[in-house]
Amino acid sequence: MLKRKKLNKMPKLNLIPILDAIFIFIFFLLMSAQFLDIYEIGSDAPITTTLTQPKPDKEPLNLTLEISNQDVVVKTGVDGNVYKKIKTTNLQALNDVLIELKNKHPEENSAILKPNSNYEYHKIVKVIDHTREVLKADVFVTAVDEKKRRYPSKVLFDKIIFETQN
């Protein structure tokens, strides 16, 4: 009878070490917690250099986005030819145009932004979001690596350059 009683007794788990670990973990997380989820968008100031290299075979894309309150004008080429004009209310169309351009010029990765002087920062960020990557889940563009190998990618023109001088 005594033996049977001993067998039925459930062994108690020692939770103290695991509780200690959880407390330390929570303390560490609380200390490092930043309740604002922050990220960065990189951009370079334009630098002018004199090129001594020979002229490349293919003309550079020189993608420029002129942003006004109503439209985003997509310009390409050294002469700044208008490629497309898109309403600022329909930025998905801008994304589609840039997908088209990236597929034609997979080696290019920079875009020059020229916003209107009163254009608000959060709207500029929206334009940047539509310029940097493909937003449609099932669409990919062609990208080229250093060894000129092509691969599918979501990255469009991730090197954003602002016109900083007046």
């Binding site: 922050i38 968008i41 990189g42 009163n118 900083t164």
Partner: protein
């Protein structure tokens, strides 16, 4: 003799605490904290009246000098008001401040940091942004990092 024996047994009995509810709270707290964990080493203490815009960007910020521009276009760095960004022209007090910072940081030109974290209010006009960027670039900070809020 018998009485003494009983008392001893009572003392030895450990007190049992019901920690189920405490464990529940800890698990909820742990899940919440893990969800809000951001591995960036950039620590941001926003000035009053500054709201940063939402973005789809997912690049983690890095430690660098932080410039904040509030909704009235006042420029702040290390909780000190430096000047005001009104247009796209060079902002002299900001230029002097950044130049001084850069000189203190290192005497070797190649080792000097080029990155600058720009925390700008969401409705700031481009002309104010332009002034801050232009001045920063003149002071040697040419690698701008715009700090944004992640949206899902």
């Amino acid at each position: 003799m018998k009485r003494t024996f009983t008392r001893k047994r009572e003392k030895a009995e450990p007190m049992e605490l019901d920690i189920t509810s405490l464990l529940d709270i800890l698990v909820i707290l742990l899940v919440f904290l893990l969800k809000s964990y951001n591995a960036t080493n950039l620590k941001l203490d926003l000035v009053k009246s500054l709201v940063i815009p939402d973005s789809k960007a997912r690049d983690l910020g890095a430690h660098a000098i932080i410039l904040q521009v509030d909704k009235d276009a006042n420029i702040w760095c290390e909780n000190k008001k430096i000047g005001r960004a009104t247009d796209g022209n060079k902002i002299d007090p900001l230029y002097d401040f950044l130049k001084n910072k850069r000189e203190i940081a290192s005497t070797d030109e190649s080792k000097k940091a080029k990155s600058i974290n720009l925390v700008l209010h969401k409705t700031l006009p481009y002309k104010a942004m332009q002034g801050v960027m232009h001045t920063s670039a003149l002071a040697g900070y040419t690698d701008f990092k715009f700090i944004v809020q992640g949206n899902y």
